[in-house]
């Protein structure tokens, strides 16, 4: 019977990450198609809350409490404990979110279990085998790939699946960690919160982004106001980040985040390939730019030609009038 293991990622506050609930939903769909089972695994010093929340999405969740993980980098010990839970289920597929922690676990798990890895999937289906869709070459191509080995590891991008709880909550099985931790654990000496650090931008449904045209950190105030009005996140191009106007965590593009929001509003962004790669699969793309021939005109749904501050402020007014 095919088994689809979901490695749940706990947030810093102990809750389950949104991305994990998306992956869990996907696992359930695959299990149904394959006539198999979807099982969650949550590894943490105190996994109960996250495991309980994940159980809303899966019939069974294994919660491994490993107090030794506390104050250590999570991914390597988590991968070891997951490998132990997988045990001799050599055929089981492992699904993870394609965030920094998920991919770290994926890599470690690949070495521990000999499984292949297909990363950054945009869709996963079951057609007698697992078929994984990924974007290639900056999105120019969409490839469908499979594993030649029985079980594989897949990391899934945020926002590709809508999280849907199961009809009934699943059970949580507590388990103690089996065996010694063979891989070195890295100590976390300190956790620093930085002002202005926002929720992971990959999970945002709506993103309002600013580019070179915004002109400076003050210009990003307008971007923030629009994002707030729409309930979205603030994004930026590399030019804006390199100029120091906004932190790297908000950068979208080839060397930043790849996002697939429902709405992407690009203010003062030319749409050059390095940025395009990060947002071109957004469902709706609206651009505001002074230059009607900017590359973004080729793939936006709507291009408003004009000054981004004038149009942006008018948009704020128009949006507030609707809700007000």
């Amino acid at each position: 019977m095919p088994r689809f293991w979901v490695v749940g990622e706990p947030n810093a506050d102990g809750s389950i990450s949104k991305l994990s609930t998306e992956v869990a939903t996907l696992a359930r769909t695959l299990a149904a198609a394959a006539g198999g089972e979807a099982v969650g695994v949550v590894v943490a010093a105190e996994p109960d809350r996250a495991a309980g929340e994940l159980a809303a999405y899966l019939p069974r969740v294994v919660a491994v409490a490993d107090p030794g993980i506390a104050r250590h980098a999570w991914s390597v010990p988590a991968a070891e404990r997951v490998a132990a839970v997988l045990g001799d289920d050599a055929d089981g597929h492992v699904l993870l979110g394609a965030g920094p922690d998920g991919r770290d676990v994926a890599g470690t798990l690949a070495a521990l279990t000999g499984r292949g890895v297909l990363a950054n999937a945009t869709a996963v289906r079951w057609e007698s085998r697992l078929v994984v869709e990924m974007g290639a070459f900056g999105g120019k191509l969409v490839t469908s790939s499979g594993f030649t080995t029985p079980g594989g590891i897949v990391t899934i991008r945020p926002n590709m699946v809508t999280a849907e709880p199961s009809a009934a909550a699943g059970v949580v099985e507590g388990r103690s960690p089996a065996g010694d931790a063979a891989l070195p654990r890295v100590a976390v000496m300190d956790s620093v919160e930085e002002a202005g650090a926002a929720a992971p931008i990959e999970e945002a449904r709506i993103i309002v982004s600013g580019g070179r045209g915004v002109g400076g950190p003050d210009g990003f105030e307008l971007v923030r106001e629009l994002a707030a009005e729409l309930g979205g996140a603030v994004g930026a191009t590399r030019a804006a980040v390199d100029s120091g106007w906004i932190p790297y965590s908000q950068q979208i593009g080839q060397t930043g985040k790849i996002v697939k929001p429902q709405l992407y509003i690009a203010l003062g962004i030319s749409g050059a390939i390095q940025h395009k790669v990060g947002m071109q699969t957004a469902e709706t793309i609206v651009a505001v730019n002074r230059d009607p021939d900017a590359p973004i005109a080729e793939f936006a749904d709507l291009l408003v030609v004009g000054d981004l501050f004038d149009v942006g402020r008018a948009l704020l007014v128009a949006l507030r009038e609707r809700t007000g």
Binding site: G107, T148, P184, A187, E194, V305, V311
Partner: protein, 262 residues
Amino acid sequence: MHIVVLTKPVPDPAAAAERLGPDMRLDRAASPAVVNGNDEYALEAALKLVEAHGGEVTLLTMAPPGGADTMRKALAMGATRGVLVTDPALAGACVRSTDEVLAAALRELTFDLVFSGFDTSDGNAGVVGAAIAARLRLPYLSNAAKIEPEPDAGLVRVRRITPTGYDVLEAPMPALVVCTQVLGEPRYPTLKGIMSARSKEIASRSLADLGLDGARVGGAAATTEVLDSRKPPARGATTVVRGSAAEGAAAIVSLLASRRLI
């Protein structure tokens, strides 16, 4: 200090000519190869550290023989030498083979740190670093925004980017670190660096040299395969609105409303 930087030649993203061959593998002849962009950040970080602490930087690449040419640019940036693992059996190798081969090559070297780039522009997987660290039992520190080795104490401190800021990680060396662009812009090779690169050593290793079996580690043993590829669905035509700011704003609101986004 001795830092090994993992680098990979990839099709030049600026040329935008990447494509799959008839065998559904990357057609490496279709575009000129360059050093993977993210690897340059790792290399820059390594160069800065050996400039501060003394030492050398070795490049390690698994690639077809032409990989030596691509390595020259990285050598020109200031790396001391290169190691190229190349073998016909490796064509089409998957992630699992890559990390097994690189781990085997690393076992032959003595180092304080191994740096890898965030991911590659031709594969984007970004998991090779973690897999190698697991195989070699090295402490694994990823998403690095800052790297501070203390050679006298034999440890390294790394700032790891988190959603809310960063964690400060600490581990004994030797260790493996995955680098991000936040570490700083890569330098251009100096022209003197380019001229001196021609005389820098690039050692070649085959699978036999590493004691590996091509049937187990090469393209023939790939754990994944591409089944199909297609172009993504074309987006519809772009509506262009000129006129006053108010008209532009109204057009946006109308579109968003029609798509139930507001």
